[in-house]
């Protein structure tokens, strides 16, 4: 703060010496921000490179040049340069999986950024605060009891049953955690995380209960939700996730200015002209839609929604106009990379991708929590 010192002379001059407090860790990290004009091309290039590499690697390797040749062939731009069997593997197995990873990663990354804006808290994550498990619970209930109690409806809804259930579960959990964690100053980290722990515990217990009533086939379906996997990818699933996901991404992108204003507080955002109630409702709906789509087809892939937005903020600052699309791109890249490692690390078997993201994401979260500890009770 400024210190005033009276210097000699008739005219009283006031010299102010700015002795600023040493910058905090956050402050230091922001000294060199990457301009958005650089960030997006770099992230996009990274994502494309990862897609090409991930599509080629596996039990049956395809070189990057052959991957490109096959893609060009499919696009009708070039002919030959690969073997037909390569095209079969790439087109029916690898590519749907990689593209599902891109879609799910983008959804989780942007949903994390949106929830952090809504909760006014950079530690919110769909997995940690229980949104993912709420969605997973709804999916489990739909699988087990849907066929038991109302098979006609379950049949009629077909591929839509699980996403609809996941979306409903996600919305309900977000609202519940928000109500529990909310204080007049914002959402308390402690209350939010505790509510998330409780939601996770309840969801896991009920999923466990449902698994006792499940048939063998249903059981296989259930266990995979706890850890997440991109293995069930097919083109129809990629299509559904991409279409509905595009709606969710567009919906969250429209909230960018309001989410920025929310950083100042709810009342302040209202004074700045933001329709806060509708902003909050839309943020809940679109983030739950995004998380619901991811969970319905790939199970719980944790920590992406925490790690991706955080890295973007460290690189380019907290402006939602940069963080929302940046987190989507980085989330997609991280998911494709994690799935690649999950497939290769113990080949020919594969790890659930959720195990990998948790192994990387959980220590990252602990690190953030340690740094934020001093601010824990400020709301």
């Amino acid at each position: 703060m400024a210190r005033c010192a009276h210097e000699g002379g008739a005219a009283m001059t006031v010299s102010r010496v700015e002795t600023a407090a040493p910058p905090s860790g956050w402050a230091r990290a922001r000294a060199g921000r990457m301009p958005a004009a650089w960030l997006f091309p770099v992230l996009a290039a990274l994502l494309v490179a990862l897609v090409v590499v991930a599509a080629g690697r596996g039990a049956y390797p395809i070189s990057a040049s052959n991957v490109l040749a096959i893609l060009l062939h499919k696009a009708g731009l070039a002919q030959g340069g690969f073997e037909p069997q390569q095209m079969g593997v790439l087109w029916t197995i690898r590519l749907p999986r990689v593209m599902l990873g891109v879609a799910v990663g983008a959804l989780l990354g942007m949903a994390g950024a949106t929830l952090q804006g809504l909760f006014r808290n950079p530690l919110a994550d769909p997995g940690l605060i229980g949104v993912s498990s709420g969605a997973a619970l709804a999916v489990a209930l739909a699988i087990v009891f849907g066929n038991l109690w109302w098979p006609a409806l379950a049949q009629a809804m077909g591929l839509a049953l699980l996403p609809v259930a996941a979306f409903a579960g996600g919305v309900l959990t977000t609202l519940l955690v928000y109500r529990i964690g909310r204080t007049s100053l914002g959402v308390s980290v402690a209350a939010m995380l505790l509510a998330g722990i409780a939601m996770n515990a309840i969801a896991m217990a009920l999923i466990g209960l449902a698994s006792y009533m499940a048939t063998d086939e249903q059981l296989r379906n259930l266990t995979f939700w706890n850890l997440g996997s991109l293995a069930p990818a097919t083109w129809p699933i990629v299509g559904v996730v991409s279409l509905v996901g595009a709606v969710a991404l567009a919906g969250m992108w429209r909230l960018r200015l309001g989410l920025n204003a929310m950083a100042l507080g709810e009342a302040e955002a209202r004074h700045l002209g933001v329709a806060v109630e509708s902003l909050k409702a839309l943020a809940v709906v679109f983030s739950a839609l995004a998380v619901g789509m991811a969970v319905a087809f790939c199970g719980i892939i944790g920590f992406l929604g925490l790690v991706a937005p955080h890295c973007i903020r460290l690189m380019a600052g907290p402006d939602a106009r940069v963080v929302l699309p940046g987190a989507a791109l980085l989330g997609a890249a991280l998911t494709v990379a994690a799935d690649l490692v999950a497939r290769l690390i113990i080949a020919p078997a594969e790890l659930p991708i959720g195990v990998l993201t948790a192994l990387i994401g959980a220590p990252f979260f602990l690190f953030l929590l340690l740094r934020a500890k001093g601010r824990m009770f400020e709301g």
Binding site: P23, S24, A261, R270, L272, G273, R313
Partner: protein
């Protein structure tokens, strides 16, 4: 002089933990502020200053009575329309993400309709007025409390700074304790900035203020609250008499004039006996 903001027989009750019935915090308040006028709300702790300001801002709903902005009840104004003509500075503004000073002041321009290039000029002018131009590129978490308070003042000034948005006059500024965390030098520079803004733009300003001395020097009119009622409403020199200060704040006051400025100092009551 037309009334920008008018409060009519306002009663506000707040529910309190462990109490079965809400407590009446404001009881039949009448007051108004006109164009270019600075009204300062003073009163002891718990008199209802901040509650009155929050009700004027629309954050709290009145149990009875009404708040009129330009003759129209506050509830009838659309959020965006209101934001282009009225800005509110809370007592303690939080920030959940590490924006820079420049970005925070830009946030104030959310409802403005000018093109980006013109906004830059408005932000620069607001930073200058609040005396924080030199901090523009610094991240908010690295600033002291007093510096952050001045940045938030720049933000609300930028929100209703004259420009193409909400053209003409008719601006209102509500400030809750803008000087609370400032050193004496910055208390005066902030009050001067507020006065310059009001006189240049014709904005009506309502400020809650603890410091009677600052209120005496910068207010066009003082509204004194005591236990939820208006105890006095008038020019500083007429209101802040020794008797009044004793009754309202239970302290002894001394006044003097320095180059036409009206100064007030206080000491404990028993010392005066």
């Amino acid at each position: 002089m037309t009334n920008m903001l008018e409060v009519r027989s306002l009663t506000v009750a707040r529910r309190q933990a462990g109490q079965p019935h809400p407590r009446v915090v404001l009881d039949g308040i009448d007051c108004a502020v006109g164009e270019g006028e600075i009204v300062m709300l003073i009163g002891p702790n718990g008199a209802g200053k901040s509650t009155l300001l929050s009700t004027m801002a629309g954050d709290l709903g009145p149990a009875a009575g009404e708040v009129l902005f330009k003759g129209r009840p506050l509830r009838q104004w659309a959020a965006g329309e209101l934001a282009r003509q009225r800005a509110v500075l809370p007592q303690r503004a939080g920030l959940s993400l590490p924006f820079t000073v420049d970005e925070v002041v830009h946030l104030g321009c959310l409802a403005r309709t000018e093109p980006r290039r013109r906004l830059e000029g408005i932000v620069r002018a607001a930073l200058e007025a609040a005396g924080v131009t030199h901090l523009a590129q610094r991240p908010m978490p690295a600033l002291s409390g007093g510096e952050q308070a001045r940045v938030h003042l720049a933000r609300v000034l930028a929100q209703i700074w004259p420009g193409e948005t909400g053209s003409g006059t008719g601006r209102l500024l509500l400030l809750d304790e803008p000087c609370a965390s400032l050193d004496p030098h910055h208390q005066h520079s902030v009050c001067t900035a507020i006065r310059d803004f009001a006189h240049r733009t014709g904005a009506a300003v309502i400020v809650t203020m603890h410091d009677m001395n600052l209120a005496a020097q910068y207010a066009d009119r003082i509204v004194a609250l005591w236990e939820g009622r208006v105890l006095a409403d008038g020019e500083p020199r007429a209101v802040l008499t020794r008797d009044f200060v004793r009754r309202c704040f239970a302290v002894d006051a001394a006044h003097w004039l320095a180059d036409e400025d009206f100064l007030v100092a206080t000491r404990p009551l028993h010392g005066a006996a």
